[in-house]
Symmetry: C2
Subunit: 182 residues, 2 copies
């Protein structure tokens, strides 16, 4: 069927607008916990046939809802028992080039720019306090870095990837201004 590609192109990003239905949420919920499930098993859990669920997963991947499937490695087992969050006060504005350099380090897992009294926030996992020191040294070597504050993790109670669910109850407000408008 030579026309199928064309159809995709014509529809363009229309599929991105399609909201998630209950089936999609259940599928995503399962896959966020275990992406190793067979389509048959996944289908029986959400109440769909294997090809149907396969089709939906393909769509969820294509539209970017699923960014990929990865193996979750264990930090300590990998020889990196030191987890820390580093707040970075910087002058000037987050030069992409400088960030590129440190994002290459396998020790650096997250880099965010944040509002609040810090400009950048890093999540780093490394072998020892020594290597954390080495990483901070690299940071201070950057001209824009003014100060850092490190929060060393003592123990981790929960650590997971983004979940599909939304807690509607959190939208409740205690603000009298809002109740007035409602």
């Amino acid at each position: 069927m030579p026309n199928s590609e064309k159809t995709e192109v014509i529809r363009g990003k229309a599929q991105e607008a399609r909201p998630l239905d209950a089936f999609d949420r259940k599928i995503l919920g399962e896959l966020a916990q275990d992406a190793g499930l067979s389509y048959a098993e996944l289908g029986s859990r959400v109440g769909l046939s294997a090809p149907a669920v396969h089709e939906r997963v393909k769509r969820l991947r294509a539209t970017g809802r699923i960014r990929g499937t990865v193996a979750m490695l264990d930090g300590p087992e990998m020889g990196k028992p030191f987890l820390a969050f580093v707040h970075v006060d910087s002058t000037g504005w987050g030069k992409t080039k400088e960030l590129l350099a440190i994002s290459e380090l396998p020790e650096v897992e997250e880099i965010h720019s944040v509002a609040g009294d810090a400009c950048m926030l890093l999540k780093v996992r490394c072998a020892s306090s020594r290597s954390l020191e080495g990483l901070l040294a690299r940071l201070y070597a950057l001209p824009c870095v003014k100060a850092t504050r490190s929060y060393v993790v003592l123990s981790t109670f929960l650590e997971r990837t983004p979940q599909a669910g939304i807690t509607e109850a959190l939208e409740e407000t205690m603000n009298p201004l809002d109740t007035a408008t409602e």
Copy 2:
């Protein structure tokens, strides 16, 4: 083979002690980026046969180096564009029961206890500033919570799961005390 189990038991956690070799690191590096690879493809990338690489992956899973394989979901696409890190000052000590309650919320992705001027550090991803407020309200409802500081993420430059690599160069020290002993 009825004796294989026995051997395993006798060796006990000996397999955990087995250090990662270069092949293991390469395998883990690939799987941390894409766990959807076939064993054949994985084998050709690291220079091993498919069954060989399969055996290694099985061992890496059994010994806990690989904690599981999950689908990475896109926060904004899931209707949760608000990412924030919340520092919690608490009195008394991290009652597990109370943590259990908030770790059930799909908005909460990480809970750590940290050294530094905060006691707990949360990573939360939610639908709106309103729901972040709702989550803070739940936190303050806990008797041990004294204060919170929230760092709202403006943009994310890097976000990934633990990596296999270790940067040896980070172990370099600038401390004269250490160079003296060496």
